[in-house]
């Protein structure tokens, strides 16, 4: 009873489809992003249209395993042709990508033009998908009417998850060190093409829901956002999946509110998450990095002052050197910088004001010593 209600809930099914598209794409997309090959997903997603039309012409299959595997082969074909063209050394790799997929895409679109009346897909589905209608096409699974898109996307997600789990070590090593992988006998080429096949299969399964171009967003953007947040591969996969799920849910409600394309809004939401990671990422976000740079600069300023004060501490020119004015004339700092450094140094308890003089505290002296005579502090540090 419970499941029946769930499967009949169109909003939930749309979000579930989006989340499955996102998770399946992220699982394979992560490795493309890490390998620096993410634009192959652009080439693949465009050219599977050719495969979908050809498979339809041959078998009249518009969904299901035959269609997914058959059409996915064109994605692999695209990459193969691209590499072949590149291997002639007549064009650069980026130009090779830009030459091959438009041909397959064009043939696919023209075939659609010719057979438009018969094929259930029109030109707009090709680009935009119809995730809003996924709950219309259902199939019976164990007595329940389940949307087809959910079934097939669920299957593809499971296959991708299985692939990534089983070959985690192999994928890791072929991604980060293809040379070593080849030396160890891991056949990086085989792993690469297996990965691309899964990218294509995911693209075909996701095609009805999000179309060719929005699929690219799900492959590239969540892993990129996750890459800005972590250095760990497994965490990157998990974060990417979470971002896709969140983007699907938020995208759905935003699209319903504004009455716009649901798939488009979900893809836009992945972009929003990327922007957030880019700005606020704890380690690689630009705000965190700017903050860290500033902290480092202040630290260096304080160390500079400590050394300056220390080296003139017991000398005759102390009265001339160890005063606020000297920081501006001798260290070349502006009034603002000098002010800030002095305030920071006093609040950090590195030195104190003694009339006009700046006098080091024991802590300040220790800081200067550790810079000037590191061997001594190290020796002291040892028990």
């Amino acid at each position: 009873m419970m499941l029946e209600v769930i499967f009949a809930n169109s909003a939930l099914m749309i979000m579930l489809t989006g989340a499955l598209v996102g998770c399946a794409s992220t699982l394979v997309g992560t490795f493309l992003v890490l390998r620096g090959n993410s634009l192959l997903s652009d080439a693949i997603s465009h050219s599977i249209i050719f495969g979908i039309v050809v498979v339809w012409l041959l078998t009249h299959a518009t969904a299901g395993p035959v269609q997914i595997v058959g059409a996915a082969l064109t994605g692999v074909l695209t990459v193969f042709l691209t590499e072949l063209l590149f291997s002639t050394r007549r064009v650069k790799y980026d130009a090779a990508i830009g030459l091959v997929f438009p041909v397959l895409f064009s043939v696919g679109v023209l075939l659609l033009n010719v057979y438009a009346r018969d094929v259930h897909i029109d030109q707009h589905t090709v680009l935009l998908g119809e995730i809003g209608f996924v709950w219309l096409d259902t199939m019976a699974i164990g007595g329940y009417e389940v949307p087809q898109a959910v079934v097939f996307m669920g299957l593809v997600t499971a296959v991708n998850l299985l692939f990534v789990t089983l070959f985690f070590k192999e994928l890791k090593i072929t991604t980060f060190d293809p040379g070593l992988a080849a030396a160890l006998g891991f056949a990086p080429g085989v792993m690469f093409y297996a990965l691309l096949f899964l990218v294509s299969a995911t693209g075909v399964a996701a095609f009805d829901a999000v179309g060719a171009v929005l699929f690219i967003a799900f492959v590239i953007v969540p892993p990129s956002a996750a890459y800005l947040l972590t250095d760990r591969l497994w965490l990157m996969l998990v974060l990417g999946a979470l971002i896709s799920i969140a983007a699907s849910v938020l995208g759905y409600y935003a699209a319903i509110t504004l009455n716009v394309s649901i798939g488009g809004m979900m893809a836009v939401m992945t972009g929003v998450f990327l922007a957030l990671a880019f700005l606020f990422g704890p380690r690689y976000g630009i705000i965190a990095r700017a903050y860290r740079r500033q902290a480092e600069r202040q630290e260096n300023e304080l160390r500079t002052v400590a050394v300056h004060l220390f080296s003139h501490e017991d000398t005759r020119d102390r009265a001339e050197e160890n005063v606020a004015q000297a920081l501006r004339t001798h260290l070349g700092w502006g009034a603002d910088t000098a002010h800030r450094v002095i305030a920071n140094g006093i609040s950090d308890d590195l030195f104190v004001r003694d009339g006009k003089l700046l006098a080091l505290t024991p802590k300040g002296r220790a800081t200067a010593r550790s810079i000037l005579e590191p061997w001594r502090t190290e020796a002291q540090g040892q028990p």
């Binding site: 634009l39 465009h46 063209l85 830009g98 680009l127 394309s261 488009g264 990327l274 630009i286």
Partner: protein
Amino acid sequence: MLDLLSDYTIQTVAMGAALLGVSSGVLGCFAVLRRQSLLGDTLSHAALPGVCLGFLVAGTRDLGSILAGALVTGAAAALVVLALTRLSRLKTDAALGVALSVSFALGVVLLTYIQGTGNASQGGLNSFLFGQAAAILRSDLWIMGGIAAASLALVAALWKEFKLVSFDPGFATSLGLPVVVIEITMTVMVALAVVIGLQMVGVVLMTAMIVAPAVAARQWTRRLGSMVVLSAVFGTVAGVAGATLSATARGLSTGPLIVLAISAIVFVSLLLSPERGLLWEMARRWRDRRSLRGRQVLTTLHAMAAEHGDRSYPAELGSLDTYHGTDTRRVLARLEQRGLVRPVTHAPETTPHWELTPSGHVEARRLAADIEGHQ
């Protein structure tokens, strides 16, 4: 044929296609040479939100504001790519992919928003996806022509600078050229080329018109000047062919037809161009391999003769095959034609045998000396 040429629509379409071909041909050369082919892909997908914004601002299908919008969002996408590659740890490919897919998604959202408003003239926007030559108006040509003329004038004026920055940005910097400004100008020009072609080819396939004419032209020449001219010619031929075909045959999208036309030109150029043609290279390799096999067999026969101290040592065909791991019959036939070997019998065996002729010995010794000379 004359009917076709005098048809008003066809004339308009052909002129639009020519403008597209020339501008994308010329401007694409620099993008391809600077390894920025896929920037064209990103910029063309990123034009979609601009098309919609231009439409929303103008409230109607006004080409001027639509193209201005496309240029603005294209530039914004280029900036996003720049920011992501410079300020984050993402690599160029991911940055391009992010900008491409997210801006296209934004375009899709705006497109459906416009459809939701029920504006009567919104139907025209769909032609920007795959291109629709027949939708081009005479007045559109002035706008396209104006942009094309401006960008071509820019190329002519900054020719030397563009050339230098494309081939050797380091040297250009050392000469004190404002390399960054020139690079930005070249990126903007890719966006301009995209904008000119939008109506013809559509946002999805415009990248092919940036890359393909330049790649085809590169096959035929090694000079930038002639490459740019050839690229413009190829672009024009493909544009006019594809566009007129689409305008006459109803129901076929213009963009794919133009792309197939230019791809055919690329294919022929890759195979048949005089110096860099793949067909010639394959033929050369085949000839090399054949002559190498002949030299190998000759050397073997010579070595066997020397080993046995018998200048007319008869070598058995089967053993030669086994030794070289290949069928040597035809190699020997060619050598016989050159008078270097001759067939002999070696009773009581009945299998064919071969021995070196005197000139064969001379040739084999020359080969051996050659090899030693190289060592």
